[in-house]
Amino acid sequence: MQSSVSIKDLSLNFGAVQVLKGLDLEVGQGEFIVLLGPSGCGKSTLLNCIAGLLEVSGGQIFIGGKNVTWSEPKDRGIGMVFQSYALYPQMSVERNLSFGLRVAGMPRDEIERRVARAAEILQIQPLLQRKPANLSGGQRQRVAIGRALVRDVDVFLFDEPLSNLDAKLRSDLRVEIKRLHQRLKNTMIYVTHDQIEALTLADRIAIMRGGEIQQLADPHTIYNKPVNLYVAGFIGSPSMNFLQGTLNGATQPMFVAEDGTQVPVSTYAFEAAPQGSSKAVLGVRPEHIVLGDVARTMPFSTEVEIEIVEPMGSDTLAWTRIAGQPVTFRADSDVLLHVGQKVLVGFDPARGSIFDAQSTNRL
């Protein structure tokens, strides 16, 4: 795959604070990359560097094979959509869309053609003469996307575009952005702190923390094979259960929880066969814990007492303890659970993750 945006050893310092630390990222042509992380992890900063709105302290940025490290934002072949929409309040929607083109001195008929096309794609033709103040949040964000669209660029940058919208509108526009990507096939780099947005939209997700990319992989890999404890805990809601214990490496590797409970982990695909015995963390997602008779067929099963029940509608979340450590699991909403009930639960460590307690890396 040809590389569309390529970031090489990028670093950025604000005074003594290192915001980005020697970051490398290759984004393929037409790929949808999501930068995901908590606030302050440097994801928006990275996007601003790609856009040319922040001067980098070191490294290089290539867009479409061209070194744009020193280029002005307008010369980088990018369009950007902001969280607060950033529409020019005194201009009508049409003039908002055409502003960049007018600045570039484009002929009038070409401007009209492009504005009409963007308005058609985003279904905002009836709004063209309105001012941004007379638009709803969803309509404003559509116009903001349109402003990037008319520039006819290869790379779209989204800076948390849906964060200001309510839940319903957010999921509507999310689908629309996905549809837009499938239609235009542009490269898109999308910043968010919402993992649902990341998992649903991305071809690949880059999980960021403290100015570094922790893991860059497709959503399935990120979800099922997180490279370290941080990624494992960050992705998934409710989050992954972690059991503290010791991993005994042998022909039959065994995870021993702190209270002595033994979990056979021979089905688990280790990166390297475990040697000796070391402190480890066993991670199991709530939906991978099964309930009832099926649990008996699992490599590990035990009887637990239910402490809290949270019905979510589509399913039910139950809180309990395995090996004395708090654990949540998901059950079908038709299974009626109540507090104090004793149930049999089990899981297959093959679907879980084992991390080294010291380095926090996946084993």
């Binding site: 601003n48 856009a51 040319g52 709105l53 002005e72 934002p73 307008k74 990018i78 369009g79 950007m80 902001f82 969280q83 607060s84 929409y85 950033a86 529409l87 020019y88 309040p89 005194q90 502003f99 960049g100 600045v103 570039a104 402003r147 520039r151 800076d159």
Partner: protein
């Protein structure tokens, strides 16, 4: 009362009687304060409409028995301001010639500086801003003599240009602060969006920032028009005798040492001089409050 309250079932809006102790106190204080501030104006207007014999009777609060506009005409056209006796009219036009360009130049320069300080951070911009902050606390009389030397070196001392320059320079700290804070309250993403759209320094200022900042421009213009119009010191020092503003002329009329003290003419001249700032406040009061509020509160 207790029995009534018990018999009437509360329903709908709570009844609010007009005469409560709180209201009486509030209105009482407001009315007294208003009278206190209006009284001098009343004395000025009545005195300016009286003839001199009537003033000599000495009852300054009495309304005029015989209304005359003679003092107003004299104040405008023929009162003596030093050696010449042309009234306030030339001073009025001098003040206009000083106020208009000074306001325009100072507001424009301050707006651009504030915009640059917020959106185009340059090396030392924080230091520059600190200097400006300090500048707004230093009484400008301290810098009067250096300014005289500078304008003399520039060979503009004693001309309108000198006054305009001085007003622009001394208006900078407070105005730049005003604009900086306002621009800082506008969303930064708007500026970023304009940069991605390819707009440069001036285009972003004129097409994006300035149209969004009309309230703060109104505040700055009001501050400058009233401030420069009311200025006496810079006018008398820098303008030169040909260009004395209205305030200086007024002083010359009121403080003239020879002849009879014409209180009615003095009062009329004072009201005429104060009329411009008063009208500005009356016309733009709403804008002024809105702008101040917009500067203080985000959004």
């Amino acid at each position: 009362m207790a029995s009534i309250a018990a018999t009437i079932e509360p329903f709908g809006p709570r009844p609010r009687p007009f005469f409560t102790p709180t209201r009486i106190i509030i209105y009482g204080i407001i009315i007294v304060a208003a009278l206190y501030y209006m009284l001098p104006l009343y004395v000025m207007i009545t005195t300016s409409l009286k003839g001199l014999p009537e003033i000599r009777v000495g009852n300054i609060f009495a309304p005029p028995l015989e209304v005359t506009f003679e003092p107003w005409v004299k104040a405008w056209t023929s009162a003596c301001t030093g050696l010449t006796c042309n009234g306030l009219a030339p001073g009025f036009w001098n003040s206009v010639k000083i106020t208009l360009p000074s306001t325009i130049v100072s507001v424009f320069v301050a707006a651009v500086s504030g915009y640059a300080l917020v959106n185009w951070r340059f090396k030392g911009s924080e230091f520059f801003f600190t200097c400006l902050l300090l500048g707004s606390f230093i009484p400008y009389q301290v810098m009067l003599y250096p300014m005289v030397m500078i304008t003399a070196q520039l060979k503009i001392f004693g001309t309108l240009w000198a006054v305009i320059l001085v007003h622009t320079v001394f208006g900078m700290p407070i105005l730049t602060l005003l604009f900086r804070n306002y621009f800082a309250s506008l969303p930064q993403e708007l500026f970023k969006a304009a940069r991605v759209d390819g707009a440069g320094f001036w285009r972003i200022f004129f097409q994006i920032m300035a149209p969004m900042s009309l309230p703060i421009f109104a505040v700055a213009i009001i501050l400058q028009v009233t401030g420069i119009w009311n200025d006496f010191l810079f006018g008398v020092v820098f303008a030169g005798t040909q260009n004395y503003p209205m305030t200086v002329q007024l002083n010359n009329i009121v403080n003239s040492a020879q002849g009879v003290r014409e209180y009615n003419v003095n009062m009329a001249a004072t009201i005429l001089t104060a009329a411009v700032p008063l009208i500005v406040y009356f016309v733009s009061g709403k804008w002024f409050v809105r702008g101040i509020a917009a500067g203080a509160v985000k959004g």
